[in-house]
């Protein structure tokens, strides 16, 4: 993963755009996922969840970095609608490679919608972590909490440092 993130930021820095160079670095599939692995317009927690805030609704999921480090997701446990989530407290879990990992909420609020597709297709979290793999939609009760989350550039750096440290 570290190599991929490095390649991504290096390629961005050098503004590589020719397809020949790209295919020289990494297989095409990985490259396109590298460049989209941190989305603009989202906020990120240091536990690797993302939040998309649109009006009075915040959508939450886990990042590309997170799904890659988890492996293939086979089971997702999510809260019920109308339950509440709290910032930095776990609201559910995913299972991959015989490991259950908690998912931590980046914000507090009331759950207004849960992605029911994940029950039958948990792999959406791997294949589409920012779109079809969304987990819950929340009505935030303290929008100021979003301020303390990371933006895309900060989060990219955070991931690179985390992967490089070992």
């Amino acid at each position: 993963m570290a190599l991929r993130m490095w390649a991504s930021s290096t390629a961005n820095a050098l503004k590589l755009s020719s397809s020949a160079s790209k295919s020289h670095l990494l297989p095409a599939f990985s490259i396109s996922r590298c460049f989209s692995s941190v989305l603009e317009g989202l906020k990120y927690a240091n536990s690797h969840e993302w939040v998309k805030h649109e009006g009075s609704v915040a959508t939450i999921g886990i990042s590309d970095h997170a799904q890659d480090h988890l492996g293939e997701v086979v089971f997702v446990e999510l809260p019920e609608e109308k339950s509440s989530v709290s910032k930095e407290k776990n609201f559910g879990a995913v299972e991959s490679v015989k490991a259950t990992s908690e998912i931590i909420s980046p914000i507090s609020g009331e759950v207004i919608e849960v992605n029911t597709k994940l029950a039958d297709s948990p792999g959406l979290i791997n294949s589409s972590p920012y779109e079809e793999g969304w987990m819950i939609k929340v009505k935030p009760n303290n929008p100021a909490e979003l301020e303390s989350l990371m933006g895309p550039k900060e989060y990219t750096k955070f991931c690179e440092e985390e992967d490089a440290a070992h």
Binding site: S47, L70, T100, S101
Partner: protein, 236 residues
């Protein structure tokens, strides 16, 4: 220059399953608060069937009521993985580690647990391999010798691995082990003609292999962990 990393090992002998869960809960909180270093529990269980978070109890092939008559308990847990059996002569390691401090995600952690068991198997000339996709664990050919089931909460691991030294294989007949119907379960005893040392030595070797795979600089054996187990009993 990185700080030397220490693994503290608790040799616990045979521990009742619920007691081990209670102990792990306590240790996970302690590790999260940084009051203890990365800790490894080395133990065995009396005959116990356990289920993971997905509660796949359709893979238990005898009625729950009959378990007592075969001398076994059943427990539901929050770990990943399917149904499994733990019992005497199966070496269990429960690492309570901070994943952030070792730089692992769930997948790389589980792969390191697999490598630990593979490395250990090689000490006895047994060529084990990691499972294919969806078959996490350690295999000799098509026979499963080591199982994994892990829980990660607040970035701290608990539960872990179970390696078959020479358990009573009849217990496995009452389940679809790990939910995989067409594969056998095996043990170190079955896979090698080598003379096996005492189980205490075997456990130590397995611990050493894990410490090596996880690049710990120091391994410290905790003095008298039975004291902690007694304290847990008093808490009841």
């Amino acid at each position: 220059m990185r700080t030397p990393r220490t693994l503290e090992v608790w040799k616990l002998g045979t521990v009742n399953y619920l007691k081990s869960l209670k102990l792990q809960d306590k240790l996970v909180s302690e590790r999260k608060a940084n009051r203890i270093p990365d800790t490894l529990l080395s133990l065995q269980h009396p005959p116990t069937y356990t289920l993971g978070k997905r509660r796949t109890d359709h893979n238990l092939l005898i009625p729950e009521a009959e378990l007592k008559s075969i001398g076994a308990e059943l427990h539901y847990t929050q770990r990943g993985g399917d149904i499994t059996f733990h019992g005497p002569h199966q070496a269990i390691l429960y690492p309570i580690l901070s994943l952030r401090s070792i730089g692992f995600g769930a997948r790389s952690y589980v792969e390191a647990l697999e490598r630990s068991m593979i490395e250990f198997s090689s000490l006895y000339g047994v060529k084990a391999r990691a499972g294919n996709k969806c078959e996490t664990g350690v295999w000799v050919g098509d026979r499963k010798i080591g199982a994994i089931g892990v829980r990660i909460s607040s970035g701290i691991t608990c539960h872990g691995l179970a390696f078959n030294i020479d358990p009573d294989m009849k217990y496995f007949e009452h389940i679809v082990p790990c939910g995989i119907a067409d594969k056998e379960v095996t043990s170190l005893r079955r896979e090698t003609d080598a003379q096996l040392p005492s189980e205490e030595v075997i456990h130590e070797q397995l611990v050493t292999c894990l410490a090596k795979v996880f690049s710990y600089d120091d391994v410290v054996v905790k003095e008298d962990p039975s004291v902690i187990l007694n304290i847990l009993e008093d808490d009841d």
